[in-house]
Amino acid sequence: MITLQPRAEPSKLMGFAAPLIALVVTLLAGLVLFALLGVPVGKAFYAFFIEPVSSVYGLSELGVKAAPLIMIAVALSIGYRANVWNIGAEGQLILGGICGGAVALYFYEVEAWYVLPLMITAGMLGGMFWAAIPAFLRTRFNANEILVSLMLTYIAALLLSMLVHGPLRDPDGYNFPESRLFHAAATLPVILEGTRLHIGALVALLLAVGVWVLLSRTLLGFALKVNGSAPRAGLYAGFTQNRLIWFSLLFCGAAAGCAGLFEVAGPIGQLLPNISPGYGFTAIIVAFLGRLHPIGIIFAGLVMALSYLGGESAQISLNLPVAVTGVFQGMLLFFLLAADVLINYRIVWRAKGARV
C-alpha cells in the first residue's frame, strides 16, 4: 500500500522537480488523450509542440502570448504569497483594455507622442479600479475576494460587449461590433521587424525582475511572504492584513490592466467584444507552475504561451477545437498540485497490514 510519510523539512529538490514532473506527465496524458480521440499521436505532438516554435515568427508569437501571462502571473504571485486570492485578473485585464482603448478612440486622429503614455496610464487605472472593488469589499465588509473578483470578470466582459456594440463602435463599420482601428500613435512599437512582438515583452521581463527585487530585498516583500504562513509576524513588520490586501490587489489590477491595454494597442489594434483568450485565468496556472517566484514565472509563462500556440496550430492542421488548450492547462495544474505533495511528503511502499 502507498502511504505518505512527512519529510522532516520540505524538499528543495522537489520544489524544482515538481513542475518538470508535472510537465512530463501532462505531455504523456495529452498523448493518451489524443490517441483516445483518434488523432494521430505523432502528428498531434508535432503540431502542438514543434511546429509553433520552428520559425522566427513562431518564436516571436511565443513572446506575444507570454508577455501578458508573465505580467499578470508575477503580480498574482504577490497576492497568493499573502493568501489573497484574486482570481479576477481577467476582468481587470478587460477593464484595462476598455479604458486604454477609450483613450485611443478619444484621441483618434491625434498623432502625438503623449497618446500612448496616456493610454497606458488609463489602462492601469482601469485595472486598478476594478481590483479596488474586491479590495474594498473584502477589507470593509469581509466579502470573499474570490467570488467578488470572479463576478466582476463576468461584468467586465458584458461591459466591453455593451461598449463595442454601442458608444465605442466604429461609426463607419457597417454596425459590426468593433471599434475603429487605432492610429499609429496609439499602437505599441514592435521590437522585431515583421512580427507582432511588441515592447510588452520587455515590460514583462522588467516587471518580473522588479518584483524579484521587491520580494527579496524589501520589508514589504518580507511582510508578504510571512503573511501567508504567519500573519502575526507580518504585523510586527508593520503591515496589517488590510494593507497587504489593498497592495496586492491594486498591484495586480495595474499589471493586468496594463496587459489588457497592451493587447488592444498591440496584437489586436482595436477594441473587439473579446480581447483575451483567458490570459487572466491561465496566469493563475502560470503563477503556480512558476512556484510564485518571478524568475520561475518567466519560464512558466513561456510554457503556457506554447499551449496557446499549440492549440491554434492543432486547430489548423488537425481540426481540433481550441478548447484542447484548456484541457492541457487544467491537467497541468492537476499534475502540478499532485507532484507538489512530494515537497512535503515521501512516498513509501508498505505491505498491507504492517505496523507503523
Binding site: 512527512p6 469581509n142 466579502a143 470573499n144 463576468y154 492541457f328 487544467g330 495544474l333 505533495v341
Partner: protein, 310 residues
C-alpha cells in the same frame, strides 16, 4: 384564465426553471462545505455534467440514461478533486480552480460534435388532481422530474443534517475534524462522500441546463452559475431552507432580463445580463459584513486539509 394570470404563470415558470440548476449546484456544495471541503470547481463539474448528460441522452435516446451519465460525470470530476485535496492534501482553492479550468476545456472538447443539435427536453409530469387547480396547477404541478427532485433533495438534505446520526457526524467532521477523528469517525471517508455528493449534484445541475433549461449544448453554457451557487451557500449561511429561498431569488433576477423588454424597459441587454453577477456581489456584502454570524454558521474547518497524525 385571464391574460394577466397567464402572464404570471409564465413568469413563475421561467423563475422556477432558472432557479433549479442553482438549487442543485448549491445544495451539493453546501453538503461538501459542511464536511469542511471548499470545492471551487462547481462550474467545471456542472459543465462536465451538462455535456455528458446531453451527449448520452442524444445518442441513447433515453433521458434517464442521460441524467445518469451527467451525475456520473459530476462524481468523476469530484473524485479527482477529492483525491488531490483529501488523499494528497493539495490546496483546496488551487485544486478547485484547476477543476473549473479543466471542466470548461474538457466539456468544450467533448461537446464539439454536439453543437447545433436539437433536443426535445425532459418530459413533464402532471401531478393528478393538483395540476388541474387554476394558476397554481400549471405553475407548481406540471414540471419535469428534476424540478420536483430539486425540492425533495433540499428537504432531504435539511432533515439529514438536522436529525440523522450520519448528518451529525458530517457536521462534526466539518466543525472539528480532530475531535471527530479522536472519537473514531473516518474524517477522510466522510469528506470523500460529501465531496462526491457535491459532484453528483453539480452534475444534475448541468443536466438540467443542457437537457431542460436550454435544451441544447452550448460551450461554457453554465455562464458562472457554479460560482453563483458558491455565493448562494454563503448567502444561505449554510442552511438548506435559506438556500432554496436564495436560489429562487436569483432565478427571479436571472429572468428579469428576459421580461424587461416585454414590459418596455429599454436598456442594453448586456446591462440586464449583469444583474445576477451584481446581485451576487451585493448579497455577499450584506451577509459577510456580519462577521459574527458568518463565524457562527460557517463550518469551522472549511478549506483546511486534515492531518490525522497531528
Amino acid at each position: 384564465m385571464s391574460m394577466d394570470s397567464n402572464m404570471m404563470v409564465m413568469i413563475g415558470l421561467t423563475v422556477i426553471s432558472a432557479a433549479t440548476p442553482l438549487v442543485f449546484a448549491a445544495i451539493g456544495e453546501l453538503v461538501a462545505e459542511k464536511s469542511g471541503v471548499l470545492n471551487l470547481g462547481v462550474e467545471g463539474m456542472m459543465l462536465a455534467g451538462a455535456v455528458s448528460g446531453f451527449a448520452v441522452a442524444h445518442v441513447s435516446g433515453s433521458a434517464f440514461l442521460g441524467v445518469l451519465a451527467g451525475v456520473f460525470a459530476g462524481i468523476l470530476m469530484a473524485l479527482v478533486f477529492a483525491f488531490l485535496t483529501l488523499s494528497l492534501r493539495a490546496s483546496q482553492v488551487a485544486t478547485g480552480l484547476a477543476l473549473t479550468i479543466f471542466g470548461v476545456g474538457l466539456s468544450a472538447l467533448l461537446g464539439q460534435p454536439l453543437i447545433g443539435i436539437a433536443y426535445e427536453g425532459l418530459p413533464s409530469y402532471s401531478i393528478p388532481l393538483l395540476a388541474n387547480l387554476p394558476i397554481v396547477g400549471p405553475l407548481l404541478f406540471e414540471h419535469n422530474l428534476l424540478v420536483y427532485g430539486s425540492i425533495l433533495l433540499v428537504l432531504t438534505v435539511s432533515l439529514f443534517l438536522k436529525y440523522t446520526r450520519a448528518g451529525l457526524v458530517l457536521r462534526a467532521v466539518g466543525d472539528s475534524p480532530d475531535s471527530a477523528h479522536a472519537l473514531g469517525y473516518p474524517v477522510i471517508r466522510v469528506r470523500y462522500l460529501a465531496t462526491l455528493f457535491g459532484g453528483a449534484c453539480a452534475g444534475l445541475a448541468g443536466c438540467y441546463l443542457s437537457m431542460a433549461y436550454a435544451p441544447m449544448w452550448v460551450e461554457s453554457m453554465s455562464a458562472g452559475r457554479g460560482w453563483i451557487a458558491l455565493a448562494l451557500v454563503v448567502f444561505a449561511t449554510w442552511q438548506p431552507g435559506r438556500l432554496l429561498f436564495g436560489a429562487y431569488l436569483f432565478g427571479g433576477i436571472t429572468i428579469l432580463q428576459l421580461h424587461a423588454q416585454a414590459i418596455g424597459i429599454n436598456v442594453p441587454s448586456q446591462l440586464m445580463s449583469m444583474l445576477p453577477y451584481i446581485a451576487t456581489i451585493v448579497v455577499l456584502v450584506i451577509i459577510s459584513r456580519d462577521r459574527g454570524r458568518i463565524r457562527k454558521n460557517a463550518p469551522a474547518s472549511i478549506g483546511q486539509a486534515f492531518h490525522p497524525t497531528k
